[in-house]
């Protein structure tokens, strides 16, 4: 059961990642044991692809692989072990997608389609057409199929019963303050830049500013392109 506020949870999990999964904790953690946005970005850059393997017994893994101690014992990122709830708090790490996407793309090639949530639900008919084309079936025309799509729209895109099952939450747990958001944006910025190189349509406005601030070669090229194409003003 999570009892922390969201901002506290973000901060503490970033710190856990730094302490458990990297070797830079001494540099990052000062006397206040804090992590700023720069530290969050550094932590993210040191993490590998969050891919899991299963069914490998702990003692065997300990004996024959180079697993770090945290993965062998109690880390919530660990890929092995008997307990199934080890990954219950992975809501930070699961947002890192680019490295996993490279692996899946190599595995599945053109059979993997990457969709953007906002695009999917902005036009469900178009989405249904795309899905039908990709799996090789005709567009849904039966009445119940049309009704199912209409119901989805009426539910505002959420099938989880948000207004009933998730109301048991307090306001202070929900507030994402500016500091937490800065850390999160910095944490995900490099991954998002890599994702844009893989899938150019996968972009969110929140990361445009951060991308420009990072001054990556792609961002610089885009900026220069924009400057060149802009008409000269007198």
């Amino acid at each position: 059961m999570e009892s922390r506020a969201f901002n506290v949870a973000v901060h503490q999990e970033l710190r856990d990642l730094a302490l458990r999964c990297t070797h830079i904790s001494q540099r990052l953690l000062g006397s206040k044991k804090g992590i700023n946005a720069t530290g969050a970005a550094q932590i993210a850059s040191l993490l590998g692809a969050p891919l899991r393997v299963t069914n490998l017994h702990e003692s065997n893994a300990r004996q024959y692989t180079t697993l770090p101690a945290c993965l062998q014992q109690s880390c919530w990122l660990r890929p092995i072990g008997r307990t199934a709830d080890a990954g219950c708090k992975e809501y930070l790490i699961r947002g890192l997608v680019s490295k996993n996407l490279v692996a899946w793309r190599r595995h599945a090639g053109r059979r993997l389609a990457v969709l953007r949530l906002e695009d999917v639900f902005s036009n469900l008919t178009r989405t249904a057409r795309v899905l039908a084309a990709m799996v090789g079936v005709p567009m849904p025309t039966a009445t119940w199929q049309q009704q199912a799509l209409s119901q989805l729209l009426a539910k505002d895109g959420c099938f989880h019963g948000c207004q009933t099952a998730k109301v048991n939450q307090t306001e202070h747990l929900h507030v994402m303050n500016a500091a937490a958001e800065r850390k999160l944006v910095a944490f995900y910025a490099a991954d998002q830049a890599a994702l844009r190189r893989l899938e150019p349509s996968m972009r969110w406005p929140r990361f445009d500013t951060e991308r420009a601030r990072l001054q990556t070669p792609e961002a610089t090229a885009e900026l220069e392109e924009g400057t060149r194409s802009r008409p000269a003003s007198r």
């Binding site: 059961m1 999570e2 973000v10 458990r20 692809a49 969050p50 891919l51 899991r52 299963t54 069914n55 490998l56 065997n60 004996q63 024959y64 692989t65 180079t66 770090p68 993965l71 990122l77 990954g87 809501y91 930070l92 699961r94 997608v97 996407l101 899946w104 190599r106 595995h107 059979r111 993997l112 389609a113 990457v114 969709l115 949530l117 906002e118 999917v120 639900f121 469900l124 249904a128 899905l131 039908a132 799996v135 090789g136 079936v137 199912a148 505002d156 895109g157 959420c158 099938f159 989880h160 948000c162 099952a165 998730k166 109301v167 048991n168 939450q169 998002q192 996968m202 969110w204 406005p205």
Partner: protein, 246 residues
């Protein structure tokens, strides 16, 4: 709804099963060291979580022998490549089955990014309306034999379609490698959203929220749906919305 089997599949895609399974055969023959073979099969196996090397589930017979001597109580837990996939003839038999079963659509993730809704659209598109439908099967994350998968997939198929929307699949190296062999024709769908929103929404799971919240306070709040986030709302200040007070 009629059955759309091999006839609806691109011929190029159908023939690709041979090339997809070929590395597996080579891997089985050359599996003196399970980890080395796994790295050859998928280089990402050596760059796993935290940047450390993590073993793949395939172990060679010689390594299994060593394990049996040194850790006899654990040897049943070790799975070799041969245990999983069998010899060349077993893989060839599986290929024959694969050619006849091409209707698989798998939503692999990411969690809290609209996989449930996408699954609903997918099922409407495919014409599936089974009432005993389970969205998340959670079966491919565990290594199993080819025989097991043939029985399982056939049993779970509805209207000749195998549909799974287990969002943790995206993070499972095991699932990725098993899909490569078990369902080489499967279509994969990955739905993404702004990771900051995804993170906040993941935290908002009911299991993360204490039950000791005063009901009068809690009833005024609601968790935002998937597409109240991001560009539609225009900024972080509107990420979390209040339900209208009564």
């Amino acid at each position: 709804m009629s059955c759309y089997s091999a006839a609806s599949v691109d011929p190029e895609q159908r023939n690709s099963s041979l090339s997809l399974c070929q590395p597996l055969l080579e891997d089985t023959r050359a599996a003196r060291d399970g980890q080395a073979a796994a790295r050859q099969l998928l280089p990402e196996a050596s760059h796993n979580v935290c940047g450390h090397n993590v073993a793949y589930f395939g172990f060679s017979s010689s390594m299994r022998g060593a394990l049996a001597r040194e850790a006899p109580h654990d040897r049943t837990k070790v799975i070799t490549s041969t245990d999983l996939w069998g010899n060349a003839s077993a893989v060839a038999a599986h290929q024959a089955w694969v050619r006849g079963f091409t209707n698989a659509s798998v939503i692999i993730g990411v969690q809290k990014s609209g996989t449930t809704a996408l699954d609903a659209v997918m099922r409407a598109v495919l014409g599936l309306r089974g009432k005993t439908h389970r969205k998340e099967l959670h079966v491919f994350g565990t290594p199993r034999t080819l025989d097991h998968w043939r029985r399982k997939v056939t049993g779970l198929a509805e209207n000749s379609w195998f549909v799974d929307a287990t969002p943790s699949t995206f993070q499972s190296l095991t699932a990725m490698l098993q899909f490569r062999v078990v369902l080489p024709h499967a279509r994969f769908w990955l739905i993404l959203r702004d990771p900051v929103d995804r993170c906040a929404h993941g935290w908002c799971k009911p299991s993360h929220v204490p039950h000791s919240v005063p009901p009068d306070h809690a009833a005024r709040l609601r968790c935002p749906g998937p597409f109240r986030h991001g560009t539609r709302t225009g900024g972080p200040a509107q990420q979390w919305s209040r339900a209208p007070s009564t």
